[in-house]
Symmetry: none
Subunit: 396 residues, 2 copies
């Protein structure tokens, strides 16, 4: 049983130390979380405290001085945030909503996070049904917020295949690819934790608001985690550092859709740095939502993924494949369309109409296929034409 | 000025020796093309001739014996095709239609072909306006016969960009991507030879017939070449070996569209073996015409190409001839067959059965070889016999 004072101290540290602040981990390791918290609360570090900092390498005096100077500055920085230091309140809140605060000393702490070294989280706030699964059986599925139907279809295929293999689908809870990943993972009746959402803000206010229902569903059947204590809002810095947790907690991270400059590439970079496997789904050239995926494949050791069966080789043999698990389609209007129909729908402009030839060029489909598909889309009130020129129907 | 007897001899050799028959190059190198032709015409190799064969490595008696044995068999094979040996007719014909027959001794012979080693062509029949450009400024653009509009669009973008850089677009003159590559290259008013077509049959009958106008246009503004002398038709064996010329003559080969099993992958494999740069255009997953491109990117050192500007970096690099790269294992039924087996398969009629003697006449192989090969083809369900008469098995 882990000391409750230790847990309380680490909870407090997450309230004043931002994610990936390496000096927080250095201080907690050298002094212990309780002593570090005492110092942030006002105690003056003793000569012995300073000496303990460099005990692991007593000969490197230059490094020792640097750490002392930087940690001294950091303590000042953390002290200025003491007004947020309410560990008992936060722990009480998380218990009331049925959640937990887990710390590296817990046996349920994911071993994979140690790969983050000095940016390992000080603790994780967790809400859900079960523990965080091993990275070895976890697939990170990430991508653009403005996902296309093509991207959703690819996400769905991968999520279903992963769940059939008993693999957990982990993502960031955002709009677009993230939401599709969680939703389709939840729809499979498989073994183990279906999905893990890694958020960039506290669990008291699920973000983004438009995903509230989905995120609540994750807390019922899966797990939501975050470094941020209750009360803390996500911001750009926290989103970017959240991505390192997605990378660390997944043996494989696949970017489904990403623009040339996209946050999903940041997650892929973290995964590369951690030596995790990275994959990306290709798409038609000139389609902006695939440009980031192509960039990853071109410029980094990222594998091209064009088949859910690729998960078999990526995750290797040790995993059970259960192809009999049920999949209950989440209800969405557009799910009645197949891949090619979704491609055409996505290619349709919203304002000015376009020709069938132009749609051929974008989608790679032949004229007869396009014509048939447009007729079906028209019947579903998803497309409209005038004099042979087509566009997406409004309000779809 | 190259000796006309030398040119005449090499012209004759192309009439009896199939492309990529290594023993033809070995014989022509050791004895000179004229002496090799004399021997095929009936002269008996002298003791000195046999000795000349292994002068480059006099110590390896085992290799010497093997070469002597194989070359002896090959001479028998070539002699059985002597009825095709009409070099003066062929040279007269190519001159009348405004073409040429170029040989390795010519200064216009493309230096890059030497990378083919013992499968370097014995000569090239050429029709067109200009010489074959250097491989360093040549882009091979290849792909499916059943190209999609997406594939054509990508081909067009690359062909235009290449021509804007003064780079020649080389392809195989076939339907689909090949035709688009030639067509769009011809459409750009740039410097140098716009396009080179590498054919698998003689220049007297342009193949495929549906591309006749395009191929004629290439002879006006670009260059058509082939190893096959006038009068020889393309067959599967010749198509596959034509691909090695496309690979050798291009610093960069890009596969625009290809199914999972496609002849374009064969060209990419040749290019990898020659240490040339290889690229492939991605497309939507689950679209069959992109599956071969994705396979290349996944399984071989093939670069993903999603932007015509990629040609800037590809042609900026120094010309590589590194032969250590991996290549994609062929997996088609027919790819388990060797050169001679493919020759026999190609020679088999589809309807009425034929005799082994007749197959000897067509293929130039001896009866024992043919018999062994037919047995293997039968085992692979590629050939069937009745009362010693053979034909191709249907649906192969």
């Amino acid at each position: 049983m882990v000391d409750q004072e230790l847990r309380r101290a680490r909870a407090g540290l997450t309230q004043v130390i931002e994610p990936a602040d390496a000096l927080g981990v250095v201080g907690a390791q050298a002094w212990g979380p309780q002593r570090l918290l005492e110092i942030i609360e006002g105690a003056t570090p003793s000569q012995q405290d300073w000496k303990a900092l460099t005990e692991h390498d007593p000969n490197d005096e230059e490094l020792a001085q640097k750490i002392r100077r930087n940690l001294g500055e950091a303590i000042g920085r953390w002290r200025r945030r003491n007004k947020y230091l309410k560990p008992d309140e936060a722990l009480g809140y998380i218990a009331r909503i049925g959640g937990r605060f887990i710390i590296p000393e817990d046996k349920q702490w994911p071993a994979a996070l140690a790969d983050l070294g000095v940016t390992e989280p000080l603790g994780l706030w967790l809400l859900g049904n079960g523990d965080i699964p091993s990275a070895e059986t976890t697939l990170g599925l990430v991508g653009s917020r403005e996902a296309t139907y093509y991207g959703e279809t690819a996400t769905k295929m991968l999520a279903i295949k992963a769940r059939q293999k008993g693999i957990t689908v982990l993502s960031g809870g955002a709009y677009g690819i993230d939401a599709h990943a969680h939703r389709h993972a939840l729809a499979v009746q498989g073994q183990g934790v279906p999905t893990v959402g890694v958020l960039a803000g506290g669990l008291d206010r699920l973000y983004p608001a438009g995903n509230t229902d989905l995120l609540r569903e994750i807390t019922r059947d899966g797990v939501l985690i975050t470094e941020m204590p209750p009360g803390m809002r996500p911001n750009r810095y926290r989103f970017l550092n959240r991505n390192r947790l997605i990378a660390a907690l997944s043996a494989v991270t696949i970017v489904v859709e990403a623009r040339y400059r996209s946050g999903a590439l940041n997650t892929a970079n973290h995964a590369h740095e951690l030596g995790r496997l990275v994959g990306a789904i290709p798409g038609p050239i000139q389609v902006p939502t695939s440009a980031g995926c192509h960039r990853l494949i071109k410029e980094t050791p990222t594998m091209l993924i064009d088949d859910p069966a690729d998960l078999d080789s990526l995750f290797g043999e040790p995993f059970r494949t259960d192809t009999t698990v049920a999949y209950l389609e989440p209800s969405r209007d557009h799910d009645v369309l197949n891949v090619e129909e979704l491609l055409v729908l996505e290619a349709l402009p919203v304002r000015q109409r376009t020709t069938i030839e132009h749609l051929c060029g974008i989608t790679g489909l032949a004229v007869p296929s396009i014509t048939g598909i447009l007729t079906k889309l028209e019947r579903h009130e998803l497309a409209e034409q005038e004099a042979g020129m087509w566009r997406k129907q409004r309000n779809t």
